[in-house]
Symmetry: C2
Subunit: 190 residues, 2 copies
């Protein structure tokens, strides 16, 4: 049960990255991956995390300790091992894959001339709301983070979101104006 580790899956990498900072349960890893400062990497579900942790334990990249609790289900607390640390650092040392940006919103924007004004407006509004929420969340995270690298990446995120918001605010009216300008008969309207 000790392969040469054969490179980690994204979820496994996430688990090790989080455990590098301290022990945690699967449940906590999930929360950190969604709300914490790892959400930019992968956004994993339980169905992915639990099996990944089991595999990591099998390969001895993590160890586990069971904590029986009264009233609550018992929790399995995982710790990263020396081998785990090495595997993580090795994975991070090889050239990182390209960043991925997928935007359903931009597709809507591209089709603005073919869509009703209301649809474009609500997509724009929803997007703005989300950027604002992310920004607020980011600033909250910035409040409670000491190490330089964390502040660096949070700053990165803030820079991107800010310019994003600026473009949106400056150019939303233009997109709304373009909406519905192509004659498409009557759309998906009922």
């Amino acid at each position: 049960m000790e392969h040469p580790a054969e490179s980690l899956s994204p979820v496994a990498t996430l688990c090790l990255a989080i455990l590098h900072h301290g022990e945690a349960t699967g449940y906590e890893i999930k929360k950190l991956s969604v709300e914490g400062d790892f959400s930019y990497f992968v956004d994993a579900s339980f169905g992915a995390i639990y099996p990944a942790l089991a595999r990591l334990a099998n390969e001895e990249l993590v160890t586990q300790r069971e904590e029986v609790q009264s009233g609550r289900p018992s929790r399995k607390v995982y710790q990263i091992t020396e081998r785990g640390r090495r595997a993580l650092l090795a994975a991070l040392s090889e050239p990182p894959g390209a960043d991925v940006y997928r935007s359903p919103f931009l597709l809507v924007a591209k089709f603005a001339p073919h869509l009703p004004r209301a649809v474009v407006e609500s997509a724009l509004g929803e997007r703005r709301r989300r950027i604002l929420a992310d920004l607020a969340h980011l600033e909250e995270l910035e409040g409670r983070h000491g190490d330089a690298a964390s502040r660096w990446i949070l700053g990165y995120g803030r820079a991107c979101l800010s310019s994003d918001l600026a473009y949106l605010d400056a150019n939303a009216p233009a997109l709304v104006a373009a909406a519905g300008s192509a004659g498409d008969g009557r759309l998906a309207a009922e």
Copy 2:
């Protein structure tokens, strides 16, 4: 063979979106999804596109015409139908999913203190190169696009990439300085 369309998969949406602008073969759709101005939406492979087109033809959202060529394999040219247009516009009319940003690079950045300087430097350099390439590519696309909506989304992309680059240029030295500052024994070095 005519279900109520039951909402489109991302790849199917991509196909319809491209076909909305004019007929194309599976091969061409792939190219446009990688190089063209749809790459921000999904980046599909042949193994995803061909079956998707077959399904769309089955649901009568597209039609196909076979063009026999001498010397070359014959090509299947697809056209979107009225039903296809309606299905696409209906899909785009419901609230778009959240934009996704996944960054292996930021994970490397977060672990900078635990990684050798050379690793951090090369990740930073690679990222810079990619942003520059994307920017150049974007400007090339901007040169040959008439409609307002296309220019809008290209401008959006340019704004994001520019601020991205600016942050990188301003803050790369700080990250390099932080590299290797945590004592990790000897890393993944052999």
